[in-house]
Point group: C2
Chain length 509, copies 2
């Protein structure tokens, strides 16, 4: 949701949007009814095609985003790895959560019919690409991969921050899908802010997925839920990601903690949804001045777009002028050949927790390389700081490696408070760098996300785009292959036999 | 959402609501952190207590709802059975969907941390009881059972249609929970329409669950999603539940189909969310007149409340006066000692599918014993009728027992269209009577529900009240017991070893 970018974003015409939504609708049945293993081949083909074009894609993304080549190389690899990971989920088939109830005339509540439940695609998904991940949360990113894996056609609203990277990626996705036999309309890209809103209001769209700002994401969420037919909207919005350092950790390895923190909040110019924005330190240590020293040495880094840079400047000035704030490091803006400013980090010290809590803006995401430090004098103060944090993607704790009984007891009280506010608790590491794995949870209570029960990273992200359908007393020839008595697709399923025993059939590889 | 009932519904005071929400908040940690097997004991204790008081409860419900004793006996049994079914889910533990990623320094995307994901309770849930199920969708019904099972305290908004039944049930639930060691505040009941709205707006409430009308449910959904912090709202609203009869089925067993249909749409005076409201018949059969004869013989049945009866009268008059409607059977209202009218069924004949589609109101739920018949002259007409149906809980098809090649082919086209609009496809049975089983899906696209990916009946209903949390690189002593390395609770979990192999540990009984 950037100002400059909005001005230059070309708007799709009404007819073009209509054509793409029509094509997505037509593709719904065909793509969704393909056996999971066939869709897996298509996803793998996209991954292979992205890898094959990596040099071109990375060069374009470096030019448009200003992110370093090394970072973008890793990000593109993550993009193809997560496509293959979803392909593996499709080959495994557990994601369908197939359950069979056998007909049971003696069921405790009377005659129980044969019931067979599986998961079907929700329908065409509108995915909004993010500014800060030109690959992994953009055209062929996690939302697209999980929606396609679920069997949903994707209409991708491109982010104006990297238009050529988007266009090239979309072309690769389309070609790979076509070569894999996917129907025309399985994937389409649209551009333009108004186009993105119009598509969200369209009855042909069955779900939305978004990664971006609280303001932009909430506006889209409001549209999605106020339609005549409301639809699920999976928004990943803003997160403050507080980090706590115990006195044990400070004594044991203060230098390492300071360096780790500065590395994490300045990574990618602080433009990660998991950037630790608030650091809660025990009162009276040398950590604030050490962090200031290290942050003062960080080289300027280009912001993603002029709009993001402008918003960051305004927000940082607002925070720096909050009552009782000491500016430990005042970041500077530098010219960059791209025309988008490069910035150095800002470190603000709020003093006490009490002062931190006096200005709620200090606990709201500021997208860029700015961090706010506060010092707690007691566990009660620390707990009240955490209680004031809104829903957040992560909470981080740095603790002593071999904590004494007192620290163990205190941590035992802290952890449940942290778990109540976030989707991921990180210990003795930093929250930036989100592993793309089955046990990942990239989500959390609002405003971290608009859908607290879901994740947008990791294989469980596929659940967002599925809905269950049960078949009662169906003749075998009318069942989808996945539910046939003979299990021709070799899918894992749980069978509830008459008399209530339960059997689990593992997937046949 | 009934008129008469609203007038007599006593409103909870502001202080009483505050006290109950506070108590629910306080109970959240304790109830949610109990080992699943301990919560299972509490759920079983509620079931036992309900069974022990069944005579009193059923007598009260008969008096208040006018439903027959046999029906209420079965419904109370269903209520205790589903509490025990959720208890079994808790003992099994699969619902937690525990996933472990082992630390893998050689992971394809670089060093992968130890990550452990499980499901935690979403927080205090506000459950709105339904009018038409004084037990199974009321105080101790499916929404309450699944929320308590998930570890969420429940604040129950009573339905004014059966206040004494509600009060007695709530007292049983509270006593059983207290005797099982559940914290005070795990369950509370509130009364009053305004109280129900105020509680939904309260930031301490983390999710809502509702079964009722489209108008009432949408109004509450709109409140839930427009809060400063929006919350999930699981509404089960209105459903037309179309039923299709093929010419093969008509030839083979027309009489049985006619009798089955009349039995289904008049069951419980047509006050089921799965009542088949529209019947699509092949053109030119004797079924309409046979259905009219059978429906004309159905005895008057008392409506649940005066408000529901009034709304039903208005809606039925509206439908009967739609263009081209022939009234095959005009229902009558009879006085009942309760003061709430008893009614006989109404059967409307829309003639052709074309005429049915001319009046969209004919395809919207009319809560009561009214059905609309239309005759299709071709598969195209049948498909266009289904395409005009909004999201629905069920679609029913009566087909030939041994269909010829032509009927098979035609059904093969029909079934995917039906699956696209509903949560459950029923073959050669009727949609009323919802089995409470693991493979059940009681849900569907809007307006059938406000949360298409979920079910409100069956064990999967617990998913609505869970949210995942991952622990990254956590020392064992800070992990919840469920995620400890030694698996002290014996819970099933999927482990992703370094190098990508996957292992599933079955639950230890």
């Amino acid at each position: 949701m950037t100002t400059t970018a909005q001005q230059t974003e070309p708007e799709e015409t009404h007819d073009e949007i209509e054509r793409r939504l029509d094509a997505a609708t037509v593709a719904t049945a065909d793509w969704g009814q393909q056996p999971p293993k066939q869709r897996a081949e298509a996803l793998s083909a996209i991954a292979d095609a992205l890898d094959a074009e990596s040099a071109t894609l990375i060069a374009e993304a470096v030019r448009e985003s200003g992110l370093p080549e090394g970072r973008l190389t890793g990000e593109l690899k993550r993009t193809s790895v997560q496509l293959r990971m979803f392909a593996d989920e499709l080959r495994d088939g557990s994601y369908l959560r197939i359950a069979l109830d056998r007909h049971d005339p003696d069921f405790v509540l009377g005659n129980r019919p044969d019931l067979r439940r599986w998961s079907t695609p929700i329908g065409p998904v509108l995915v909004y690409a993010a500014s800060n991940f030109p690959f992994a949360f953009s055209v062929a990113g996690g939302d697209t991969a999980s929606a396609l894996a679920a069997g949903c056609p994707v209409v991708l609203k491109a982010h104006p921050g990297h238009p050529e990277t988007s266009r090239k990626t979309a072309e690769i996705v389309r070609s790979a899908l076509a070569a894999s036999g996917a129907p025309e309309g399985t994937f389409a890209m649209i551009t333009g802010r108004e186009a993105g809103v119009r598509a969200l209001r369209d009855p042909r769209i069955a779900a939305g997925a978004f990664t971006g700002s609280v303001a932009g994401g909430r506006a889209l969420f409001d549209i999605a839920v106020s339609r005549p037919t409301p639809i699920p909207f999976y928004g990943e919005l803003g997160s403050i990601n507080p980090a706590v350092v115990t006195s044990g950790a400070e004594r044991e390895r203060g230098e390492q903690v300071a360096a780790g923190f500065v590395g994490s909040f300045t990574l990618g110019a602080g433009q990660f949804c998991t950037k630790p924005g608030t650091l809660l330190l025990p009162r009276g240590t040398a950590l604030p001045s050490r962090i200031a020293e290290l942050a003062g040495d960080v080289a300027p880094a280009r912001m993603l777009t002029s709009g993001i840079a402008e918003r960051y400047r305004e927000r940082t000035e607002e925070l720096a002028s909050a009552p009782g704030i000491e500016v430990l490091v005042r970041g500077a803006e530098h010219d960059d050949p791209s025309g988008v400013p490069a910035v150095t980090p800002t470190v603000l010290h709020a003093g006490s927790v009490e002062n931190l809590l006096n200005s709620p803006a200090l606990l709201e995401e500021n997208f860029g390389p700015c961090a706010v430090i506060a010092e707690y004098g007691s566990d009660d103060e620390l707990h009240s700081a955490l209680a004031a944090v809104e829903g957040t993607l992560t909470v981080t704790a740095h603790t002593a490696q071999d904590p004494d009984e007192d620290e163990r007891r205190r941590l035992g009280r802290l952890v449940p408070l942290a778990a109540a506010r976030s989707g991921r608790l990180v210990f003795d590491e930093w929250p930036t760098g989100v592993a793309v794995t089955p046990a990942q949870q990239h989500g959390g209570p609002y405003p971290a996300t608009t859908a607290v029960s879901h994740t947008s990273v990791g294989t469980a992200a596929i659940d967002r785009f599925l809905r269950p359908v049960s078949y009662q007393n169906a003749p075998d020839f009318l069942l989808p292959d996945a539910l046939h008595e003979s299990n021709p697709l070799g899918l894992p399923r749980t069978t509830h036999e008459a008399g209530s025993s339960r059997r689990w059939d593992a997937p046949r590889k």
